[in-house]
């Protein structure tokens, strides 16, 4: 079966493209991006602000189990066309990564299926590679922590 989510990142380029097909009508897919309480659910973050309009801005905040703020991100909405596109910026706070520009294009495939194309442009090819590596390094970190947990139980 073909993967529903695809990532295309050409060597040496400063952008990447994520595409995904959904078993959802276009309107529901778009709704998942615009209703703060729904965004909060699938992104697993607290939505502080989400102004879905031209010149609007957004702000997310994630806390760990102890209630400490673990992750903060914000950006501005540059363009917003319902059921078609969102153009926005994304920047993590207190992180050594520059702002990135995101083009989100929504498209109906059939009455019940839809597609999202997300093009992300970074400051440089090196910056893009860093962002690509983050889940990889977090994976190593998690494996490391798991190992540590196992070792602790053996103590």
């Amino acid at each position: 079966m073909e993967a529903k989510t695809k990532v295309s990142a050409q060597e040496g380029q400063q952008e990447l493209v994520i595409t995904r097909t959904f078993d959802l009508p276009l309107e529901l897919l778009f709704k998942a991006y615009t209703e703060p309480e729904i965004v909060a659910q699938w992104m697993g973050t607290k939505v502080i602000k989400l102004e879905n309009k031209k010149h609007g801005s957004w702000q997310f905040e994630t806390s760990d189990a102890k209630g400490n703020v673990a992750f903060q991100a914000h950006g501005t909405i540059h363009d917003f066309v319902p059921n078609q596109k969102i153009i926005r910026t994304f920047e993590m706070e207190n992180a050594p990564f520059d702002v990135q520009l995101e083009f989100l294009e929504f498209e109906a495939l059939t009455e019940h299926t839809s597609k999202l194309r997300m093009q992300v442009v970074y400051k440089s090819a090196a910056h893009r590679d860093q962002m690509l590596k983050l889940p990889f390094s977090q994976g190593i970190n998690r494996a490391h922590n798991r190992l540590q947990d196992i070792m602790n139980t053996l103590k």
Binding site: A3, K4, T5, K6, V7, A9, E11, I18, R20, F22, D23, L24, P25, L28, L29, K31, A32, I38, Q41, W42, M43, G44, P96, L116, D129, Q130, L132, K133, L134, P135, F136, S137, Q138, G139, I140, N141, A143, H144, L147, Q148
Partner: protein, 107 residues
């Protein structure tokens, strides 16, 4: 030589995994890497040697210093990074899909 098995052996060691993690976002000298560990400098050098031998790390001479970096130069390595990144988005989108299913039936 079975390179694949060597790679797995290389990343089975927690210190070597921690070194890979350190280098995930930036290139560093052996000294800078060693300063992150309580282990003796020669031990860290040995780990760097093993990681370099199985091509997980690359070296670059910069003046008098040698910088180590994650070997993301060839496509296979990029593909290795791509898969966890793809999976992260796939899981996120699966969640989105599952949540929106509920709205479907409500209509």
């Amino acid at each position: 030589m079975n390179l694949r098995r060597d790679v797995f052996q290389a990343i089975a060691d927690p210190t070597r995994r921690a070194i890979l993690l350190l280098l995930a976002t930036q290139a560093m000298t052996a000294g800078a890497i060693a300063s992150n560990f309580n282990t003796a400098r020669p031990t860290v050098s040995k780990h760097l040697q093993i990681l370099t031998e199985c091509e997980l790390l690359g070296q670059e001479q910069n003046g008098r210093e040698i910088y180590y970096h994650l070997n993301a130069q060839n496509m296979k390595e990029v593909a290795d990074f791509l898969e966890p990144f793809r999976k992260m988005w796939d899981e996120r989108f699966n969640k989105l899909e599952a949540i929106m299913e509920k709205y479907k039936t409500k209509k």
